[in-house]
Symmetry: C2
Subunit: 470 residues, 2 copies
């Protein structure tokens, strides 16, 4: 594609995206297609000769678009926010344009150094413990997701707690991992991947607010010790996916110190809220964490993929993940004066992801980002009030931030029918969870496009739909 054609096609794509956002509320939020419908529409024959860009864009519009669930829609309240924004999209575009691979420092110094700079900015902006700053023994790195961050934390913890002897008989099979029954599925996945065996994952009970019960935790640890177990790794969650519950970090931290357990804190969605002074309580107790992650790609206006992962002792990570083949050896890396982020992650290669984060932080500034968070929380408080104003409904969990968990008083079936009905209209998208063994609707606000009238309209439609089930 020559320069002239790239300029033309590129500007067309920019306009296409701008047009898309202008009409985004008109689409059914959740794609209404059936299984295999998209594939059936896609051209079957692989083109022998190339096709025109216009032709591809036409198929994008006609075939791909109907199969998109519109995560950026103002009426998307499902799962969790997955913020995109203009500066993030364009920062990422430049990353694609450069087409560099940031595996080691020398393979593009800007990629590494901007990333370190941005991770340090986040430490300051969110008032994270100083040991996560690159000037300390620790530091930060961008991972694709909290799942990968948790896996990296587990691997570092596995090696550090065992002094690198995790594979010795009598050690490996006895390593025990702890998390609550509300924590993220990625923990179970990481335990399987790391070869610890799912039977060595202890699922700790939660209290009425869905946060980890300290007593049950400590008793479980004691039992494990009695039975020859080696407590190794604990994941505490600051803002669970299910209900934004917070585990008691202060008490958990003390226990982890007492029993020499690596403490990883997962604040995937909620972490961004610490930008605002009034929500900074979410970091209380974080000073005892060995590692921490949150996702700017959830609630900080930065396109997926961008998970910020911090570690107190970077050596624990790099000693676990560093492999030095001949073709990557170079004097700077060997002198330890630069960071090679390949040793901080699972893959070898890496995109220039800090660029989009830099664009976001500079374009919005701290105040712009705070305003974004505050708007989301305020709208969720509004939604809570609306739920409470209708006595056919009940709240199912505290809503400290931007997620409201609620249900119709009545059976699980009614609530399942209600959510299916709402999602089928295409007017909005909600997902569900189970809390206290009851089918519960989740209404999560985080899109910068969601305004007061969207929330009010959505509530109106929910209340209307409920009429059918009363």
């Amino acid at each position: 594609m020559n320069s002239k054609e790239f300029r033309k096609a590129g500007k067309d794509v920019i306009d296409w995206i701008a047009d898309y956002y202008e009409k985004i509320s008109e689409f059914p939020v959740m794609s209404q297609v059936k299984a295999n419908e998209i594939r059936d529409d896609l051209p079957n024959d692989i083109p022998i000769e190339g096709e025109s860009f216009e032709c591809i864009m036409k198929d994008l519009e006609d075939i791909i678009l109907p199969g998109i669930s519109h995560w950026q829609s103002p009426n998307f309240y499902g799962f969790f926010p997955a913020n995109a924004s203009g500066p993030a999209i364009l920062g990422d575009l430049l990353s694609s344009g450069f087409g560099i691979n940031g595996m080691i420092w020398s393979s593009s110094p800007s990629c590494t150094e901007l990333e370190t700079h941005m991770m340090d900015w986040l430490v300051t902006m969110l008032d994270l413990p100083k040991h996560f700053h690159s000037s300390s023994s620790g530091g930060g790195v961008i991972q694709d997701s909290a799942s990968s961050a948790t896996l990296c934390a587990l691997l570092a913890g596995r090696e550090k707690i065992t002094n690198g002897l995790s594979n010795i008989k009598g050690v490996r099979e006895n390593l025990i991992v702890y998390s609550s029954n509300q924590s993220h599925s990625s923990i179970e996945k990481a335990v399987k991947i790391a070869g610890l065996g799912i039977e060595n994952l202890r699922i700790i009970d939660v209290n009425d607010s869905f946060s980890m019960k300290i007593e049950h935790l400590e008793n479980t640890i004691k039992d494990d010790l009695k039975n020859g177990g080696i407590p190794c790794f604990l994941v505490a969650t600051s803002g669970t996916t299910s209900s934004t519950a917070f585990d008691p970090l202060v008490e958990i931290g003390e226990i982890c110190i007492k029993y020499n357990i690596w403490l990883h804190v997962d604040a995937a969605m909620a972490g961004t809220a610490a930008l605002c002074e009034e929500f900074r309580w979410i970091n209380e107790g974080l000073n005892n964490a060995d590692s921490y992650c949150f996702n700017p790609h959830k609630w900080m206006l930065t396109n997926f993929d961008c998970d910020a992962f911090f570690i107190k002792d970077r050596k624990a990570l790099t000693e676990t993940l560093s492999i030095q083949p001949e073709y990557l050896k170079n004097s700077l890396s060997e002198s330890d004066t630069v960071i090679d982020y390949k040793d901080w992650q699972i893959p070898l290669g890496r995109r220039f992801r800090s660029l989009k984060l830099w664009f976001v932080l500079r374009y919005y500034g701290i105040e712009g980002l705070k305003a974004h968070i505050r708007r989301g929380v305020k709208l969720s408080q509004l939604f809570q009030k609306l739920v409470l104003s209708d006595n056919r409904f009940e709240l199912m969990a505290p809503s400290p931030l931007n997620l409201v968990c609620f249900r119709m008083k009545g059976s699980d079936e009614i609530n399942e029918s209600l959510i299916n009905k709402l999602n089928m209209t295409g007017d909005m998208f909600l997902t569900h969870t189970r809390l206290n063994d009851k089918y519960t609707l989740r209404f999560c606000i985080g899109s910068p496009l969601t305004k007061r009238h969207h929330v009010e309209n959505s509530w109106y439609k929910i209340a209307q739909a409920a009429n059918e089930f009363v």
Copy 2:
């Protein structure tokens, strides 16, 4: 960022990228900055209020650009190609624009179905074994990198060979992995991650062409069996990073069947060559592979990250990696009529990566991609001839595709000085390896911008620089 501003800023970025490519040969290929130079130039203060887009773009030009190593430069011959192209950049831009998360089918059906469609296209285009097609028991998925693909293959292999009992005492510590001393560093990394223990990785010798010695392999397996080992997983490489060596897949496949070992084939760079009938020999023996990967983001004009990973028995993978939290449950996924790619990879979330691959395959067509590969191979043959024409130099390995391994006759120090000198000029970028324990220069061609005159000029400069060392 409102629509008007996005259109303006977006078009400026498109022009910036087009301008960048027009002058890309003017930059020193390898960034010439020193450690911390970029960080020192970056603004230290986190902006309180947002800044203008122009202001950020100015810093991109002034601060970031000097710290870029230009992987897309026609004079970049280091590591391996990392092809970017107009259609891939724009496909990826649209993926950022949509801002969807393709973790499960319903979270955007197009994301899943286009990916399956593209993976099936690749099976056809490259004439891969039919068991990698989604209509069989297997299928394909896009991973971020061959490292992650290899890890997923290892995990699937670990569970399949042990019937899911990899964690049982007497099993886990005895699982043995095989690969040659020329295979990629990601194998060692995967073995560490999966908790198998690096002492259970057997490094098999290679012959004069740097391909795995079958005799040594079989003897090692027999020894392991004698000592209570459980042969589990073997990685064969089709085109090593070091020298594009090919392991003998036919013989290796027979051994893997005989001893019940999972065979994973890593063709990260070379795999794309099978587009051309004359290079399709690289797939010989692939029919016995349980899994296979190659990187369209290396030599198939598709921006990083895009590794195509194929598996013969998709259940072996999904049973290892599937976790079903309540909030992701839905009737379609449970009915098994759709694919949830979250169960085919390490992370939960995923970008819409098939879009860029679709744009590339359609824009260039099979013939366009073949021409790209043939041009690279032809230029490397030209470079080989130039090396052979100068008796101060010697070739160090066969060059079946696009990589030439060569050195000056003389000491390692001379060759190290030569490469450092060449890279310091900024005129080109080469990396090195060790072959037969000799420091060896690698000249790898793959950029669509590299033309005959670049290769000739580069050779001329290499020969000139050599004068200093004779």
